[in-house]
């Protein structure tokens, strides 16, 4: 799988990598049993710190998305409710599509819509709820 990490956004590289791997699984690029490159290989390929790759793999292993087999590497593991997760994302995407359609109809342009989501994700009320 091809990855593209952007060092200048506000998102840590390991989170970007995790997102892209998750996205790969959701979109079917990565199937159950597929092997991801080893930490060293991927780090050298992307020219990022091996700790970045290690952290991403480790977190995904905790989530159950990856299975680390000692000596063999990282393998995509299809969880029982992966299908459910995929449909959940699928549903949310559908809802977002409708919402964005509404915003556009109201005359907001894409940049403004993006900013709104950014601010809301940092909304203190939400932050407090998460805590």
């Amino acid at each position: 799988m091809l990855f593209k990490l952007n060092p200048t956004t506000g998102l840590p590289l390991y989170l970007q990598l995790m997102q892209q791997i998750r996205h790969g699984v959701e979109s079917g690029v990565l199937q159950h049993g597929d092997q991801l490159p080893g930490i060293r290989t991927l780090a050298e390929d992307l020219v990022v710190s091996p700790n970045t790759v290690a952290k991403a793999y480790s977190e995904l292993e905790h989530e159950g998305l990856l299975e680390m087999r000692h000596g063999a590497g990282a393998f995509v593991s299809a969880k029982r409710n992966l299908a459910f997760q995929m449909s959940r994302v699928h549903q949310a995407r559908g809802q977002a599509r409708k919402l964005i359609g509404n915003f556009r109809d109201a005359g907001l342009d894409d940049d403004e819509i993006r900013r709104i989501f950014e601010v809301e994700l940092l909304n203190p009320a939400e932050v407090l709820k998460r805590r």
Partner: protein
């Protein structure tokens, strides 16, 4: 992975007469990580590094590298056997050929890696029989890098490793850096090239006018630093916006641009309280963080 400190300094200082080149620097460089040591020209980075390698005597404070004191001559000889270093000017012995330089350097280190030496010789396309004095700056830099990378040291210290390299050379250098880290080497490199640090660094230390003004993981910086563009119909006093974490405020007309190193949510709340008509949040790249850190002081 236990995180011990490969480099540890305690209020390390160096003064030349009245000029304080390094002031009370307390570093803790963790093992198995890539740490970027950033700063403007003349900030004191090279001086700090030279103190770590006992080339310069500290005026005050203490330091340990690989658990050995930098003040003790015997300890220092021992620790240098486990450290690979590329100096700022990358000067080598002009009267030796490339091959002689390699053979000479190799003879001092038990951790020499012949396989990497061979690979880099061909990657860098270094002519074995050419005298170092007749190499171009780029070739000399590559040779200096080869002499450090063709080893498996515990610690690799690089002072401005990309200087003198073209974009391909920089890419190759970063790949070697990452490969070394994968094998367990701790990397400590100084640079004023922010993009390189942004790509490979786990930890960022910023030195400004001899003082350590930032020492944080790059992930933390990415997650905490934010730039907020606030628009007010009636612009409030800057002091009312100055919550904890605010690094800089710039007001032009009805716009207020605030950079925070944390608590972005707090500031958004405050902005709402002050009836901001618009709040935009954007991430802050390492370059801006660097500028913010060195400008205001």
């Amino acid at each position: 992975m236990t995180s011990t400190c490969v480099i540890e300094t305690h209020a390390l200082s160096k003064s030349y007469g009245r000029v304080e080149a390094v002031r009370g620097v307390s570093l803790s460089v963790k093992s198995h990580q890539i740490t970027a040591f950033l700063g403007l020209n003349g900030a004191g980075k090279s001086t700090t590094i030279k103190m770590l390698l006992s080339m310069i005597r500290p005026s005050g404070g203490s330091g340990q590298v690989l658990g050995k004191s930098i003040d003790d001559a015997k300890d220092s000889v021992h620790l240098r056997g486990q450290v690979a270093y590329v100096s700022e000017n990358k000067q080598l012995y002009g009267y030796m050929t490339v091959e002689q330089m390699i053979r000479f350097t190799r003879s001092f280190y038990s951790d020499w890696r012949v396989d990497i030496e061979r690979r880099l010789l061909s990657t860098y396309e270094l002519p074995l029989t050419r005298k170092v004095a007749s190499l171009s700056k780029g070739m000399r830099t590559k040779l200096a890098l080869l002499l450090a990378f063709a080893r498996q040291p515990k610690l690799l210290i690089l002072d401005e490793p990309s200087e003198g390299l073209d974009p391909l050379g920089i890419e190759q250098m970063l790949e070697s850096l990452v490969a070394q880290c994968s094998e367990g080497t701790t990397i400590f490199f100084s640079s004023h090239q922010i993009p390189e640090a942004e790509r490979v660094a786990d930890q960022v230390c910023i030195l400004h006018r001899g003082r350590l003004v930032l020492d944080s993981s790059l992930d933390d910086i990415r997650q905490s630093y934010r730039q907020l563009e606030l628009v007010f119909l009636t612009v409030p006093e800057e002091s009312s916006v100055r919550v904890a974490g605010v690094e800089s405020i710039r007001t032009v007309g009805r716009q207020m641009r605030v950079v925070v190193s944390g608590n972005a949510d707090l500031l958004i709340e405050r902005a709402h309280d002050l009836h901001a008509s618009s709040v935009e949040v954007t991430p802050v790249g390492l370059r801006e963080v660097f500028m913010e850190t060195v400008k205001g002081k």
